[in-house]
Amino acid sequence: MTGELLQAAGLQPADMQALWLTLRLAALTTLLLILVGTPLAWWLARTRSRLRAPVEALVALPLVLPPTVLGFYLLLAMGPNGPLGGLSLAFTFGGLLLGSMIYSLPFVVQPLRDAFAAIGEQPLEMAACLGANPVDRFRSVVLPLARPGYVTAAVLGFAHTLGEFGVVLMIGGNIPGETRVLSIAVYEHVEALDYANAHVLSAGLLLLSFILLLLIYTSRFRRRTGA
């Protein structure tokens, strides 16, 4: 039903495929990043090891590197002589997933790290004195208190992956249903001078991203006013 609705809005079947692919990629990337990012962010928030600074820098790297650089190195790494060569990840959804996870890593890890750090020591020490073991403490104190951080991390990670282009361009291979994501579809339309379709896709993506970001900021504002 949604399909027909979108078609009425002017979306071609190939582009709808790109849309679902993009949403799937963003959702899966965000989910995996939350799972992987939680222990990493926890460690970063609480460790006093000397490794902290270099790891922080590595996590932040995708923020400043041009996506094409990332894509280029991934292309080489996934090639037959590269460290990931055996996994045949180039031009696959799996390869995009890996690329997206690296690309959006700081957008998920940094809000989580900040949320964990903001909790401080005392609630955790309190919980320990009240009988909560480490796993219990994490579940019943850290997670609820870090919830805003999780929301921010999830929305930012999702929205950021939606807009991913440079990395996908380098390692995707533009395969419909597998690696032809929305940003690639828009690019292709523009290159082929098909501005009508480019408009439909671009406007849709713009709207979607705006709504997602609006979500975060409304919830932050509501919390601050104590509602």
Binding site: Q122, P123, E125, M126, A127, A128, C129, L130, G131, A132, N133, P134, D136, R137, S140, V141, P144, L145, R147, G226
Partner: protein, 355 residues
């Protein structure tokens, strides 16, 4: 349950080496100047200082010794932090239930309603942290710790972070707990009046070490210790209610050294009371005075004298089996020929009833 502690800790240049034993019930004060390691000691007993080594034994249970060390969450300890803290994502009721659901000792637990009543939280159960004052949050923290059924309650200067008004509201609650609780409590403070009011036993600390420990009044009146030389030097006495005078609204108290009159209290004859008498409120005379507004006067024997500044001395006095302090000028000492063994009369300007 006797609490036996022997802790060693090296933390960033500060060394803690403490050994003491505290009586099985009642409040034991851990007293000393800021920075002497009181909080660190308490944290080490709770297991919150991973580098601490030594012995912590509560009753028959060893929480830490040469063979092993229980992690904090397995020690049946209650801890009240200096900064009032509640879990901000839970309301008061849920905060109280947090420890209840994770009880570590199989002793008979305190009743929920009893504790709520004791700390005056009945109207606050559905509230959240941001809507509560510092004093209210501290009461929640205390109740929370009590409801987790601890074998030892640790309180780290619970009143220090509160303003004067909140403190005076909270002290009576602590009085009630002190009276009704059977669990031993270690109460850290640098405020002498709190310590005098609430505790029976005192552990005196300085520079990470225990200087001495003993009964509260014994240590308060020892002239070789700093407490007897502060501005608020005082003694704690125990007396019993004898009778009430309804015409003048006074209550008569008796103790082994004599009688005392205080403004009428709500207690039955025979009930025990705790009194504080400040050194600066005690004056001395060779004879009992007449024609004076001071009601309270009784014979005392001088036990010891020590310097207390350029122009004053501190005198330790014995009245029956109780000890008190008086601060007088050197001139008076000379004029009255005050020396150990001398019989004098003490006039008490003001007696504060503590509980």
């Amino acid at each position: 349950m006797t609490v036996k502690v022997d802790m060693h800790l090296d933390k960033g240049g500060f060394r803690l080496e403490c050994a003491f034993e505290s009586p099985p019930s009642g409040f034991t004060a851990v007293f000393g100047p800021s920075g002497c390691g009181k909080t660190t000691l308490l944290r080490a007993i709770a297991g919150l200082e991973p580098e601490a080594r030594g012995l912590v034994k509560v009753g028959a249970d060893s929480w830490q010794d040469a063979n092993g060390c229980l992690p904090t969450h397995r020690r049946p300890v209650g801890y009240v932090f200096q900064h009032p803290s509640m879990f901000s994502h839970l309301d008061v009721h849920a905060n109280l239930r947090f420890g209840m659901r994770r009880r570590r000792s199989s002793d008979a637990a305190l009743d929920f309603d009893l504790v709520v009543e004791l700390l005056g939280l009945s109207d606050l159960l559905r509230r959240h942290a941001p809507g509560l004052s510092g004093g209210e949050r501290q009461r929640v923290a205390i109740a929370q710790a009590l409801l987790s059924n601890p074998r030892l309650l640790l309180m780290d200067e619970p009143l220090a972070a509160l303003d004067q008004a909140s403190r005076s509201v909270l002290l009576p609650y602590l009085d009630d707990i002190q009276r009704q609780l059977a669990i031993p409590v270690l109460y850290v403070s640098h405020a002498l009046d709190e310590v005098a009011r609430l505790t029976d036993h005192l552990v005196l600390m300085r520079d990470g070490r225990v200087v001495t420990s003993g009964g509260i009044n014994e240590l308060l009146t020892r002239l070789d210790l700093p407490m007897a030389h502060g501005r608020n030097a005082e003694a704690v006495l125990h007396a019993a209610v004898r009778a009430h005078d309804t015409r003048d609204e006074l209550t008569e108290l008796t103790f082994s050294g004599g009688h005392l009159w205080v403004p009428r209290v709500d207690a039955v004859p025979g009930a025990g009371v705790r009194l504080r008498i400040r050194a600066r409120d005690v004056s001395l005379a060779l004879q009992p005075l007449s024609g004076t507004s001071i009601l309270n006067s009784f014979p005392v024997v001088v036990a010891e004298i020590d310097d207390d500044g350029p122009s004053q001395v501190m005198v330790r006095l014995q009245a029956g089996d109780q000890t008190l302090l008086a601060r007088v000028t050197r001139r008076s000492q000379r004029l009255l020929a005050i020396e150990p063994g001398k019989h004098l009369h003490a006039q008490i300007k003001s007696v504060a009833l503590l509980a």
